[in-house]
Symmetry: C2
Subunit: 245 residues, 2 copies
């Protein structure tokens, strides 16, 4: 099956180097409105989006998000916050005494927030604007809260940076995904056997020169999963979760 | 700004009543492939998708997800699981001894999962196939784990049901979203004042006959936030979170 939308969803890849061309006010508006139109549980829009326009604040975010200078060069920088605070405040304004938000409210708000963010990505793609998710926005909870004035029950879900891709970025090959059977099960969950896992990763790595499962996985584990930033992300996420206990 | 993709993102609304027309194997494939092509942290695809094809299991899911019979009538039913288990298993297969997954891994995987799910929604929309998110899949952790054979570190992020909308569903008016200033802040988080909150909700409710802030908010609070299913969702989510402490 093929159509313009499916082609765009397939073509979209992360862009980390941007041309000098700005994202216009009209484009920004189209990106935000597409986010608002995303599905949202009970029409609650359980998110707040910070539009980071202050250059010094962009630099600070680049630093707090695992020191990635390209973030500060983005033409549009949006922080997507899961917001479990707006509705309880409205309940109180209407004279109710609502319970404190719990883990379920957080997980539902995180879903709402990431669903809206992905609509922003797809809208940008339709306008020739590239994007990159910054998961590192989860790190450094204390400094992030102070920097972005985050109150309790408001948690960064993801950050998105936008800009037009340089020709080098346009030509970059999108990394291959897993084959379907590696990530889809019929009816119930089933672990991949070790043999299947090796084949899943090896097939995915078919375009990587001299791909070798053990070497690749060991390097990835050290560079990502056992890295300082990954450990920091889990510590920091734990700080946000404490609000919901 | 307008183009086919932006129009589709705006037009998409939840569909809960489906015609008898099936979702074909080719359409299912296009929906899944679009999900796989979604942005994913470090190209990890930290999700597993369960394709619920067994009618008895669909009935059970309809029951476990706050007793919503329309779920069992879906032509395609996908459970999106945040999967913090596949990569550590691969690490072990490669001879590593990885740390246990932490809260950061879960939040990153939840984002990955919902981002992929939203691509599935947009792909379906492009094919004339309606969809509905079922957040209630977060409830009843113990029964859900048993029913779907979920091991530790695998958490339902959302469920999606698909099918072609009946004409009644096509004609249903999509509920209005908040105005931009209600959900977007420049640079740092700022609470809406009580007055602003009242105006945000009242403007959103402009098409609701005789909308009145206090009455609407009080009813919503009782029906949703203080409901049994909402409390159950938080209890249940807490069960999943325990894996990541």
């Amino acid at each position: 099956m093929e159509n313009e939308i499916l082609r765009a969803l397939h073509a979209r890849k992360s862009v980390r180097v941007f041309t000098d061309q700005p994202v216009t006010a009209e484009e920004r508006e189209a990106i935000l409105q597409a986010a608002f139109q995303a599905p949202t549980a009970g029409n609650q829009q359980m998110y707040t989006i910070l539009d980071i326009t202050d250059p010094a604040l962009k630099e600070r975010m680049a630093d707090l998000c695992d020191h990635q200078p390209f973030i500060a060069k983005a033409k549009l920088c949006l922080v997507f916050l899961a917001d479990c605070r707006r509705w309880p405040r409205a309940y109180r304004a209407a004279g109710m005494e609502p319970r404190d938000p719990g883990p379920g409210d957080l997980l539902l708000a995180l879903a709402d927030t990431c669903i809206a963010a992905q609509n922003a990505v797809t809208a940008a793609e339709s306008l020739g604007i590239g994007s990159c998710y910054i998961g590192d926005v989860l790190e450094n909870a204390e400094a992030m809260r102070e920097t972005l004035h985050l109150p309790a029950h408001v948690v960064p879900a993801c950050m998105l940076v936008f800009g037009r891709p340089t020709s080098q970025q346009q030509e970059r090959v999108k990394p291959a995904r897993f084959r379907e059977e590696a990530v889809v099960c019929e009816n119930v969950y089933r672990d991949r056997t070790e043999e299947e896992l090796r084949e899943d990763f090896t097939l995915r790595g078919a375009n990587v020169p001299e791909f070798q499962f053990d070497r690749y996985i060991q390097a990835f584990c050290k560079r990502k999963y056992e890295s300082d930033f990954s450990r920091e992300m889990s510590r920091s996420a734990g700080v946000y979760l404490k609000d919901f206990e």
